[in-house]
Symmetry: C2
Subunit: 317 residues, 2 copies
């Protein structure tokens, strides 16, 4: 089957060329008569979140959430800003916060902000914040800055019996708060960085309490590939990312015995979003994913040239 | 809606009373008109595996697998049995193996047996073994010793838009090798104990290599509740287990804001299977789950009285 591009195309927000490439790939693995047919259970697609499914500039959405909540707490208890890291963060000066003690001290403050509360309470709080929080420059709520072309890709894959998963360096409970509303991806199909949970009993009822420490490693780089195996138990055949922290996830996918589709989203659109090279938090000096993708023969998606529109055309939350 | 028990009942292998209790619960949370209606996304059901979904006596199936594979290796390299732990294990003497160095030395040998191979290769090997391996006493393959009443319960829950998950103290990759065939539960819906994986590149292709060490904690006791939150992100409303290692999973479930169904399988059927008190590996002296269930008002399932038949009526693998 040769897919045709017309008004009824499921990838309306993609350029004709880019859409054609994706449609051909999906037909190739899902068409019953294709020599490259892949059984539905093996049709696993994994997506980075920040910078791949929604905007990550100038700050990660979750970082804005933590700073907002920290600021509210400082208003109630001004002595908290005796800490120079807290004071810099609340003033919106992340570089300043880093100068006062490095990444370790910064991480400690961030982790402490939502420690000692229940995992379920945290999800409710994140969801509530996301319902109204506005991007500082783009004049929309963060939840309205999901990428329309990627929503269409998720839909097209699922229409062809793919299972879609988020594999994020961000906090798993933060992304889960809205993953179903924004992306149609249920909570158990989100893999991310996690904090340690402790079991506590209150009035005979178990609650799982967030601790101010990461569980295992942040979900960036090699841990993305490892956590895909830990959580899903199958090697994906489709993957999309935008930073060096997604490299191993795409490489793991590319190593499948089946035909694969590996997408590197290139943020080259200063007019509609931002133009930047996606950097990995844990590997700031690594080769850009765009360069890796060119070397490996993966598909580089130019936001400027391949996307007819960028942000969601309807309100999802 | 009052469900009626007749020849068309979906819980044919359960006694009329036990079936009625389950059918009423499922109707109560899934019936649109019920005041206790629970949204489908919240209909999460979690099941222990060994002793809850299939037979765990006289040995865990996975232990039999490891000993079989270790024995094959000793035949190729007899010097391996210079280790008294290995020699005792290969002779089928687990107590003897424990006497020679305790649980730590035993775990080391077991973990080493399948270390240094790829996660995908391990799954294939486990699946291949399970296709033929026979139970030492019951005259059937292990895979034919899944419990028919529990298969019917899984089906009935899924027919009412429940999601079903396995939460096992066993190795996640071992259970995943057959979870879909035996239980209709896909690999990503299996949560279990895991070994550490290392990322390696061979000829430019990533493989994830099993290490001889547990990742985090064994999935027993409090970790079962914590890993449910880590993996699923929702508190279950149905849970089933058979040992003290399942207590926290059932307690976490019982703490839901919705009506819950907590089942403790009581192995009291020496005629058809085995009669024993399910012990937790990590908490051998803990209160039996049957006693906890009675205290907490959970449902104790008597294998002898509540199950009309015990083992699967058809071949699943």
């Amino acid at each position: 089957m040769k897919p045709s591009i017309d008004a009824a195309t499921p990838l309306m927000s993609w350029s004709a060329d880019a859409a054609q490439r994706i449609l051909e790939y999906v037909a190739r693995v899902s068409d019953e008569d294709s020599p490259d047919h892949v059984a539905p259970k093996e049709r696993i697609a994994v997506f980075d979140n920040d910078g791949t499914l929604w905007c990550e500039r100038p700050n990660y959405v979750q970082a804005a959430f933590v700073v907002d909540e920290l600021s509210a707490r400082v208003q109630q208890d001004p002595s908290l800003s005796d800490s120079p890291v807290v004071a810099a963060l609340v003033a919106g000066d992340v570089d300043g916060a880093l100068r006062h003690g490095g990444l370790g001290a910064l991480a400690e403050v961030l982790l402490e902000t939502h420690a000692h509360i229940g995992a379920e309470a945290f999800t409710e709080r994140a969801r509530s914040w996301l319902q109204s929080a506005q991007h500082p420059q783009l004049g929309r709520r963060y939840v309205d800055l999901v990428y329309q072309p990627m929503l269409e890709l998720l839909d097209h894959l699922r229409a062809h019996q793919f299972r879609t998963f988020i594999v994020t360096g961000g906090g798993v409970e933060f992304v889960r708060a809205v993953s179903d509303d924004l992306y149609g991806i249920d909570r158990d199909d989100v893999i991310g960085s996690a904090v340690q949970l402790d079991l506590a009993r209150h009035d005979g009822r178990i609650e799982l309490i967030r601790q101010p420490a990461i569980f295992g490693s942040p979900n960036e780089g090699a841990p993305k590939a490892i956590n895909i195996q830990m959580h899903i138990g199958r090697r994906p055949i489709v993957a999309a990312g935008n930073t060096a922290g997604d490299r191993e996830m795409l490489e793991y996918t590319a190593g499948s015995a089946h035909p694969t589709l590996c997408l590197a989203i290139d943020h080259d659109d200063a007019a509609r979003e931002f133009a930047y090279e996606g950097a990995s938090v844990t590997q700031p000096d690594a080769e850009s994913l765009r360069d890796t993708a060119r070397m490996q023969g993966w598909t580089v998606v130019s936001m400027r040239d391949d996307w007819n529109r960028v942000f969601a055309t309807s309100t999802l939350l």
